[in-house]
């Protein structure tokens, strides 16, 4: 990997297409978010990869990545936050890859959940527990 992201960006490379979700939806629970996104459809457990650290280095800015080949949309939820909605990524027909990364704020140890709407209209779900700890005491 000789071409780093920092260099790519310096060359004026890619730009992400992400919409931070509106705060007005604050009252909605994770279940309501999921129900609205999927319309209650079943979610497969393959077809979507969610990458997140096991233990957050800093709960205020936790790097996460989602990748779902062929997906048109990916919804990301922080299920333990007062406002679970984090982001919805929309990929147009000309998107070269259905991949996105961002940093999210986590109020405490919780499951981060991602749901993708795949090319065939079905849904996939991935979940990962991210621990937010006060730390200290290394070996």
């Amino acid at each position: 990997m000789n071409l780093t992201r920092r260099k790519t960006l310096a060359l004026g490379g890619a730009a992400a297409l992400a919409a931070m979700l509106p705060k007005g939806a604050a009252a909605a629970t994770s279940e309501e978010w999921i129900a609205e996104f999927t319309g209650g459809a079943d979610m497969a457990d393959s077809g979507l990869e969610l990458t997140a650290p096991e233990i957050a280095e800093n709960g205020n800015t936790v790097p996460i990545e989602v990748s779902a080949p062929g997906a048109s949309e990916i919804l990301v939820l922080a299920t333990g936050n007062p406002t679970p909605g984090v982001a919805k990524f929309t990929f147009g027909a000309l998107a070269a890859s259905q991949y996105a990364s961002t940093r999210i704020r986590l109020a405490g140890t919780q499951d981060v959940v991602a749901i993708a709407k795949l090319a065939d209209g079905t849904f996939a779900k991935a979940s990962k527990t991210v621990k937010v700890t006060i730390g200290g005491c290394g070996g």
């Binding site: 990997m1 780093t4 992201r5 920092r6 990458t51 650290p53 096991e54 233990i55 957050a56 280095e57 800093n58 790097p63 990364s101 140890t109 527990t129 621990k131 700890t133 006060i134 730390g135 200290g136 005491c137 290394g138 070996g139």
Partner: protein, 554 residues
């Protein structure tokens, strides 16, 4: 081991049998029938111990989840039974805690990098192109290391000529100093999981892996630094760096080196043993994991699939030699020996001995000053408390006039025997760090419980990937009950203020003194001064057994 296609043997049985002879020689300790075509030499978690020391292994080391009752969570008589070690033998002294004080008098101190040098030289005499790998926690842990910002260790380790190294406590020197040292290292500084925090991509200064052509074999060594550095240690000291286990990236690196023709893939790891075991089951294609961080010393490798995991102890007490037979791009077998460094048996290498003395000379008077004496064995290792920590907590309670004291559950720090003088060097050996301010603050009973629950989950979470290594925070002035099997938030109960016998009130405020806070701007005198003043006042230290922690579910 039977289920594997690998042929393996461990030289441990040889030195276990020396028990009967009650005599040890350097030749016996080094005896090894050279095997295969590649030799690895592993040292790890030296914690700046240049000189011979005593080091008592833990009495309590509880495994959880799938690791309950599995090595390295086996101690004392169970450990001796597992490996066929006779009571009172040299191996019993080196690997278990029982009768430590009396066995220490028979068998003497362990470690010393001049003795380690002799062992490395002897292995290189057998196999000149053996690969020497340092698992990290090398540039931390003593007064001279602190005062020279790691330079004493760099100078001595360079004389041993390692081929590669990975990292943990090194980063607590601050990223500027780490960068400065690493840029000048005459060997590879590795860490596939050391990332640039801002860009979340591999840090340029640390290579993920290094290739070595040895015995006609293409060997790739992949580094794995301590994954939880910014959590277990102060993030503000190295804000440019991010870590994590990153096992997907580890798999990419393994695939990459295999694609480049690696016939043997070695992971030099500071994950900690249980994390390495889990990683070995997830990442495919690693032949050998040289495991560090959790300070376990195991006389035989542990096999996960076709990966062998080697644990080589701490504080310079052991060197592992691993000979491998690599043919047709495949590891066909291994021969392994955990070599205990009995300081009175192994002749020091004169060059390294004088180099060590050179590093210490400017500080000799400070190091050697006797501050007091101890009537009791002072040790640290164990999941809940050690007598060194009891002494440190007593010092915090009295010198800082606190209700409750907290001391970090670190695993480094040598032992002292009953009757020993306590020198300033001894105090620094168990307290030295770049964020050693002894704070004094107020905490509610509720917050104290939150801290205990948080730390307990970092040790006893059933999933190793959520464990940071280290032991439980040591508490002075307060007792509690812990149920290992419960989830976070429910493990700790019956918190009691010892001086009154009253239950801790969640809403009430208590004065708490502690040290090693990961928060920036922590104020207070250095912990080594606090402990020194306390010991000076005591003259001779005498400790009553600590029965304040009740452990359930182990």
């Amino acid at each position: 081991m039977a289920a594997s296609a690998l042929y393996g043997a461990s030289g441990f049985g040889n030195w276990a049998r020396l028990a009967a002879q009650q005599s040890l020689t350097q030749d016996q300790l080094l005896q090894f029938d050279t095997f295969g075509n590649v030799s690895l030499i592993h040292v790890t978690d030296i914690h700046a111990q240049l000189k011979p020391i005593y080091f008592r292994e833990p009495e309590v080391n509880i495994g959880v989840g799938g690791n309950k009752g599995e090595v390295p969570h086996v101690t004392g008589a169970d450990f001796r039974r597992l490996y066929g070690i006779e009571d009172g033998s040299p191996s019993a002294y080196a690997l278990t805690w029982n009768d430590f004080s009396s066995l220490a008098k028979s068998y003497g101190k362990v470690g010393g990098l001049d003795r380690v040098a002799t062992v490395i030289n002897a292995i290189r005499a057998d196999r000149p192109d053996a690969i020497l790998l340092d698992g990290g926690d090398t540039w931390h842990g003593s007064m001279t290391c602190f005062k020279t910002a790691g330079q004493d260790m760099v100078n001595v380790m360079n004389a041993l000529k390692p081929d590669a190294m990975t990292f943990h406590w090194e980063f607590t020197l601050g990223s500027e100093r780490v960068n400065e040292i690493v840029e000048g290292l005459p060997f590879a500084a590795l860490g596939q999981n050391i990332f640039d925090a801002e860009w979340d991509e591999p840090a340029e200064l640390f290579k993920p892996y290094e290739f070595f052509e040895r015995g006609g074999v293409k060997v790739a060594v992949i580094g794995q630094a301590f994954p939880y550095m910014p959590i277990a240690n102060p993030r503000w000291m190295f804000p440019e760096y991010s870590f994590g286990i990153r096992d997907e990236h580890m798999q990419e690196m393994v695939d990459e080196v295999r694609g480049m023709g690696a016939e043997l893939v070695v992971c030099l790891s500071h994950n900690g043993f249980d994390v390495d075991k889990k990683m070995a089951g997830i990442v495919k294609g690693i032949d050998v994991i040289l495991s560090g961080h959790t300070h376990d010393a195991l006389p035989e490798p542990v096999l996960v699939g076709e990966t062998i995991i080697v644990a080589s102890g701490s504080n310079g007490k052991f060197v592992s030699r691993v000979d491998l037979d690599v043919r047709d791009g495949r590891m066909m077998g291994f021969r392994h020996k955990l070599i205990p460094i009995f300081s009175d048996v192994i002749t020091p290498d004169p060059e390294v001995a004088s180099l060590i003395d050179e590093q210490r000379a400017p500080y000799a008077a400070e190091l050697e000053e006797v501050i007091g004496h101890t009537d009791d064995l002072l040790y640290r290792r164990g999941n809940f408390n050690g007598s060194w920590d009891d002494l440190i907590c007593d010092a915090l309670l009295s010198e800082r006039e606190a209700d409750i004291a907290m001391s970090p559950g670190v695993r480094w720090g040598p032992s002292l025997l009953p009757g020993d003088p306590i020198t300033r060097e001894d105090i620094w050996n168990v307290t030295s760090m770049t964020y050693g301010e002894a704070y004094r603050t107020e905490m509610t009973g509720e917050f104290i419980k939150v801290i205990l629950e948080d730390v307990a989950d970092n040790i006893f979470n059933p999933d190793p990937y959520y464990q940071q290594g280290g032991d439980m925070v040591r508490i002075g002035g307060m007792g509690y009950r812990i149920d290992i099997t419960k989830p976070q938030g429910e493990r700790i109960s019956e918190m009691t203020l010892l001086k009154t016998g009253e239950a801790i009130d969640a809403a009430k405020t208590y004065v708490v003194a502690g040290w090693a806070s990961v928060n920036e701007g922590t104020e207070g005198p250095p912990i080594w001064d606090v402990v020194e003043n306390h010991i000076r006042r005591q003259g001779t230290v005498s400790l009553s057994p600590n029965t304040s922690v009740e452990v359930v579910g182990a």
